[in-house]
Subunit: 398 residues, 2 copies
């Protein structure tokens, strides 16, 4: 199921603009944050683009504006000044805006439109206690896990413990992910946490769920993100440096981890990655910059393994060696990742695409990865029940 | 915004299978209902199709399984036996599965896949009191309407009152919609209400919101629906009688009715209809069967006007004349519509497509509209903030 057909022709599609709100605890309204991202995205289009040029909109969100706003996609586009545009909300837990991007890409590829916007919005700090537990909890399995008391830190902690057992991964390996992502996140003006941490500090943090300390876990974040995508003809009118979406892959998996074949591999990541690389005609070795879904430190190790950047089980040593640092073999999460930049659930998928857009255009400032010609984003929902991977390149082919 | 480009080429796409659960108060689980629709849809494909043949899935839902289940698309596909398939939830209030259908259509048209499933699921009777009010209420405007106490019957009642004032429409005109839809709904074995009503009974019902009685309002319904769509090449392999999606149009509007230009016209319907007809190269006069969003009786009158079946303001007399009956100029809601078949929110959009699929293939039994060569579906979210229209035909062109 979900087999890719790399030989079926599709229209070429590119990202031509990208915008991100500042992440963190934001007292402003959901519409304010979404506007911030949309206006920055429009403003980043080199030869200009107006709200009226948007033909289709895809808005990712899990719990939206504190759960008090419905018909969210229409509302967000109305408030952005684009009332009328065909818009829908896409909801796949924390992979919501990654799938919004995928569907916007497919809409442009279909020929139905030439310019579409994909974005995401989350106001986690507006959620009341019951809603916060609810929205975070329901994205995993309900029947076997949530109602039995298993939380997200709990389920990822199980994966980490099993990874320790099978491959000799250590708490230090996990901490290296946090240290790396905080170090680079400190250079990101939009990041929620802009402070470096030491390995010692990461290891000595308050325990959340064994083997995780608080530094192994992402945070509660408000934020919004948006990217503007266009057909090849339109993209070339709008900019000399489009970022081409070379491949898109997606997959789902069983929600409950006991139904899956392995606790130390996300099959949805493996399938989505293979499909995206197959479409792109590229391999993991071609990727110089990758934004992966590090909701917990173990998740980044699983991702670098499941996407093929290193062998299964080698994520820890690979990371500890510096191979995933800004100057390593593949720069993983140069934005700071979910860990340091923050994780506003439904806004994370397109936020990852924003970073790759900046990196591939050489506009990432102090975070810039040298020689970033090809990039990847990897967005996960639940504990791996949904996954979407995109591969991007400065060149449209080859 | 959302301007159609009828001359840009797109791949031809058809519906090849369709399934519907029985609508009503269903004690079974959400997954049970969704399964019912998916299995019927697969079984309806003339030369057979298996779960493993599904390449992409779009699941529409507003409040899902009592609001207690997250990552819904992955969960529903897993429970249907299709774990792994790329799937996402599409949420646009009561237009959720209409947009799911649109996005599945665009995915196939893009060349990314050859077979996709679009469906919807709602278990309204599982919602607790607070959730029921919440999910129903939030789909309209929150800041100006919901928090001030305006309900959905209230906002549509305002539209009706204004229509009375501007065009001389009467309560009897409204009641004709209910009588017609209950009469044909009585012939639909899947309908929630299978009893005819008289004009006198409709007019004498308990008042919900002036000028509406309970017979002007749709109900609380559990149900699921699914359609299978395929590329032209694949469709011809699967059946000799595909139902071609000739055009798809969508639009949004301001959520709060005070921001709109008119209280007696849904601009989102006008725009979505024009785009769909433009793409199809067809006109309202070509349509023999239409499933429109009659959440309230006035909504059907607005729809037949805004879609161009009759002049603005003439919906009442047009309906009272029998022009929208099964044997009239255009058979409107031969399924019984939201009024009699039932309105399980997020499942309604693809349920409308199921009826048109049956009608265009001559498989609608006692509800069959003679000479149904071209059909239309019209699905609305909120009080007109989102709308999606599809035009279908037995022939791929002409």
């Amino acid at each position: 199921m979900g087999v890719s057909h790399p030989h079926r022709p599709m229209r070429d599609v590119a990202i031509v603009g990208a915008g991100l709100s500042t992440f963190g605890e934001r007292p402003e309204s959901a519409k304010h944050l979404f506007n911030e991202a949309v206006l920055e995205a429009l403003g980043s289009v080199d030869r200009g683009l107006a709200l009226k040029d948007l033909e289709e909109a895809y808005v990712g969100s899990l719990g939206f504006g504190g759960g008090q706003l419905g018909n969210l996609a229409a509302y967000m586009m109305e408030q952005a000044g684009a009332a009328g545009v065909p818009a829908r909300r896409v909801e796949n837990a924390c992979a919501s805006s990654g799938f919004a991007l995928r569907d916007a890409y497919l809409a442009v590829a279909s020929g139905a439109c030439d310019v579409a916007i994909a974005g995401g919005i989350e106001k986690m700090n507006d959620l009341t206690g019951i809603h916060k537990r609810f929205w975070l909890g329901v994205s995993g399995d309900t029947e076997w896990e949530r109602l039995a008391g298993l939380t997200f830190p709990g389920v990822y902690a199980m994966m980490a413990s099993r990874h320790f057992h099978e491959y000799g991964t250590t708490r230090e390996h996990l901490a290296h992910v946090a240290v790396k992502n905080h170090a680079i996140g400190a250079k990101n003006p939009k990041a929620q946490f802009r402070r470096e941490i030491t390995l010692e500090k990461a290891l000595a943090g308050p325990v959340v769920a064994q083997p995780f300390t608080v530094f192994d876990c992402c945070s509660t974040t408000d934020g919004a993100s948006a990217v503007i995508i266009a057909s090849a003809e339109k993209a070339r009118q709008l900019t000399d440096t489009p970022v081409w979406i070379r491949g898109s892959g997606a997959a789902t998996d069983y929600l409950a981890v006991h139904d899956r074949k392995s606790l130390t591999r996300l099959d949805a990541t493996v399938k989505a990655g293979r499909t995206a690389f197959g479409r792109a005609g590229l391999t993991p070795r071609d990727v110089k910059v990758a934004e992966v879904h590090d909701c917990f430190t173990i998740a980044e190790l699983l991702a670098v393994e499941d996407l093929g950047f290193t062998e299964k089980g080698q994520g820890g040593p690979f990371t500890a060696s510096g191979a995933t640092s800004r100057t390593g073999q593949v720069a993983v999460n140069p934005s700071g990742g979910l860990k340091a930049k923050g994780h506003p659930l439904g806004a994370t998928g397109t936020a990852q695409a924003v970073e790759v857009f900046l990196q591939l255009r050489g506009q990432a400032g102090a975070r810039q990865v040298q020689g970033a010609e090809t990039g990847l984003t990897h967005n996960v929902g639940g504990s791996g029940a949904t996954c979407v991977v995109h591969v991007y390149s400065r060149s449209v082919s080859g």
